[in-house]
Symmetry: C2
Subunit: 457 residues, 2 copies
């Protein structure tokens, strides 16, 4: 099809939307390492995991075999409310950069949660409802995941209890209020409602909390209350499975116009968006059917891929969760007050960690001021005000497009625009006022946390 026939936005028809999720683990030669029991260091059984997670989600978590898993009709119907998301040809950005590169982005921000998080939230809420549970607990940092889960729980009439990192709870009252619209209860973490919360408050008076700490609280409440389970918005295998809908739609849209990307770029915190976006492309790569350059972009302030260790570590501060083998900075690592809240996690998806370790993808970092410069440049020509997280991918996509300008190569670049920045205006204000924090941890600092990784047998 001729170049000029490609519309600004490629939308799939409703009947072209994915009916199955793609499980990249089925095609991986080296499977991701299993979750381990933190006491025995033995692989977690389905029964053990069932105390924390919903039954069917446990099956999905452990499933390294099935290449495709049916998306239940109820979830497909919910997806139809806000999906398919558009694959946008960034004609205006290309024009502005004067690059021969062709730039596309998959925009996941057109729903009230403001991000891709809803793709997994609705799946996790569905299975909780199916199991007859009363409700679910979770943690949230910047608030996108908490908002998404609130929306999903409201839809299925499930109770939703969110532990929100205290500094975000105080700095982002509007996010909290959106969750309230959807009927969720939101508690600042660390709270005095859990044992681990009381302990952390006692040890660190006045602490403003962290994701790892909020996870511990949410897990504790789920385990202690009958009819409740814990759900998580990133890192886990099941989350990457649900998020494969992003990549499947992207690939279907590209295939419609016979477009083959050269480079695929995504921001990476816990890995949910990146893992979802790249999954079918990585599948082709694993099966030897095609090759792509795949780039993960993480903040220089929280560089788990690029400067972390590939090792078993705790997923939370309270050390109540299973051990996961992943690229990690150490579960005690507290990133600086980087405003890309969704990228401040100390670890990385075990699936992506294995793929990265096997040399199947690259990783790079970006400093915050550069990220916001790219964000503003993008907003002014493409209209959309991007989330700080997504803007890490924008920054590297622009860099790659400018390289093409130098070399004259007409590469096709696809990146994930995971969400909007409407609730991040404090960060934009700091950027405009020249008060942005560009802290990069020193080698000594990282070594200190790495030394505290759990000793394995």
């Amino acid at each position: 099809m001729a170049e000029n026939k490609i519309p600004y936005k490629i939308y799939l028809e409703e009947n072209e939307m994915p009916k199955k999720w793609y499980n990249v683990r089925a095609d991986m030669k080296n499977k991701p390492a299993p979750l381990l029991n933190p006491g025995t260091h033995e692989p977690m059984t389905a029964q053990e995991l069932g105390g924390v997670f919903c039954e069917e989600l446990v099956q999905q978590e452990l499933d390294n075999e099935n290449q495709y898993i049916d998306i239940p009709q109820e979830i497909q119907d919910f997806y139809k409310m806000y999906r398919p998301s558009p694959l946008v040809r960034a004609y205006c950005l290309e024009e502005k950069l004067q690059t021969p590169a062709k730039i596309y982005y998959k925009f996941e921000g057109n729903n009230t949660s403001g991000s891709h998080k809803l793709n997994s939230a609705i799946a996790q809420a569905y299975y909780a409802k199916k199991q007859g549970l009363k409700g679910v607990t979770t943690e949230t940092g910047a608030g996108q995941w908490g908002t998404a889960l609130s929306m999903a729980c409201s839809y299925f009439d499930l109770d939703c209890k969110v532990f929100m990192v205290k500094c975000s709870y105080e700095q982002k009252p509007f996010r909290r209020e959106v969750m309230r619209v959807y009927g969720a209860s939101v508690t600042p973490s660390p709270s005095m409602e859990t044992e681990i919360g009381k302990k952390i408050n006692a040890e660190h008076p006045g602490t403003t909390g962290s994701l790892g700490c909020a996870i511990s609280e949410a897990v504790e409440v789920a385990v202690k209350n009958p009819g409740y389970r814990y759900v998580l918005g990133s890192v886990l295998n099941q989350v990457l499975l649900h998020q494969s809908v992003i990549g499947l739609e992207t690939k279907a849209a590209l295939d419609k116009y016979n477009i083959k990307p050269d480079i695929i770029i995504g921001c990476a915190g816990g890995g949910s968006n990146l893992g979802g976006l790249i999954s079918p492309f990585m599948g082709e790569k694993l099966r030897g059917e095609a090759d792509y350059r795949i780039i993960a972009v993480e903040p220089a302030s929280c560089p788990s891929f690029t400067r972390g260790k590939y090792a078993y570590d705790f997923c939370d501060t309270g050390m109540v969760c299973p051990l996961a083998k992943m690229y990690t900075l150490g579960s005690d690592f507290i990133p600086s007050a980087n405003h890309a809240g969704g990228l401040r996690y100390h670890g990385m998806s075990p699936v992506l960690s294995q793929l990265y370790d096997d040399g199947l993808m690259e990783a790079t970092t970006a400093i915050q001021t550069d990220v916001f410069e790219a964000a503003e440049q993008f907003a002014r020509v493409e209209g959309i005000l991007p989330a700080p997280e997504s803007s890490h991918a924008i920054k590297v996509a622009i860099d790659e497009a400018l390289k093409c300008k130098e070399t004259g190569e007409e590469k096709t670049i696809v990146f994930g625009l995971t969400g909007t920045g409407y609730f991040d205006m404090v960060a934009y204000e700091k950027f405009h006022d020249g008060k942005m924090d560009d802290y990069i941890p020193s080698d000594e600092e990282l070594a200190k946390y790495a030394a505290k990784l759990p000793k394995m047998d």
Copy 2:
């Protein structure tokens, strides 16, 4: 086509998007009354208007003859970045209400301005650029129009000076920051930068401003600075013309599935969204080709259609603008602190005023608490967190759907969902905390302002 074939979201293809705006005035037997010179009370000439507005926009303002006006290619291209907007079948809301009615909404919130305002902003910026102007001035209340204009000016590299009603400037710092992302300068109004601002500040020390006052300041700056013109986001004929893209897309989407609406509902402040949504349907009605029930919904706190006078009045507090014949509460009327900021204007579009006076449409009011209850009910089943303005239409759409439930009628209801409420969380918080203001002005209060309407010859 069978009922079950209708998708959740009807998207037009890019080549099905409107290439012309529809000018409803061409089909009106009784044309809207002309704008008058406030000094002479004679109809404003194109030359007089040209001192305030861009040349081509003046032509559009005065054009009562041409049924269709070409959308310039540059504007069509910009529209492609965020349009077509989806026409959504509210399956989930219908299910929740257990109504036989079929409910559709045209969703205009999927762009960074968060509303339909961008449709006219980009047109006005385009004509300003084409005329070789340096920049434009405007006012904004809630901030949606200011944001839209900032985006449009950034795209065409035009200077953009926004006077923001002081109380909004202080209460909505995030809106201000979004405008800053797009390079606009934002001044709280009344300011000390204009003669009228100084006068109002002197007469009303500590005033938090009003739309009428911000308009006066913006007009003053446009008139006094060479290379600048004033632009406005509602009320004017040209704005309704640009906004006809909403209705044209809606009609094209409905026609694709052979759907004929019975009732069309929109919120009404100055009339930009309602006028745009209904335009092609009203055209059919005026030409005797079809009949529709058309309902305008205004806040009980600012009831220009339902309790105002149809008379010539000033559009601004400073009385520097032309006189317009419209349903009005009087240019001194300051609505209570109703959070549906975009519906707080004292007057109403002259086109809609004439159509309403001719009995071609109905109007009703809603009180704020009811509006937020409808908003929350909608958000929980349809996902989208609506703007308070749009929620007036939701409220009446739900009421009509519930009437169908009683009578068993399978009516088709279409309403305009003009935007999202992401920057209105303070209002949602007040609603949740039971602190919502449901003030309704008394007859005595309205009579006091009506008595001050300008005396015409």
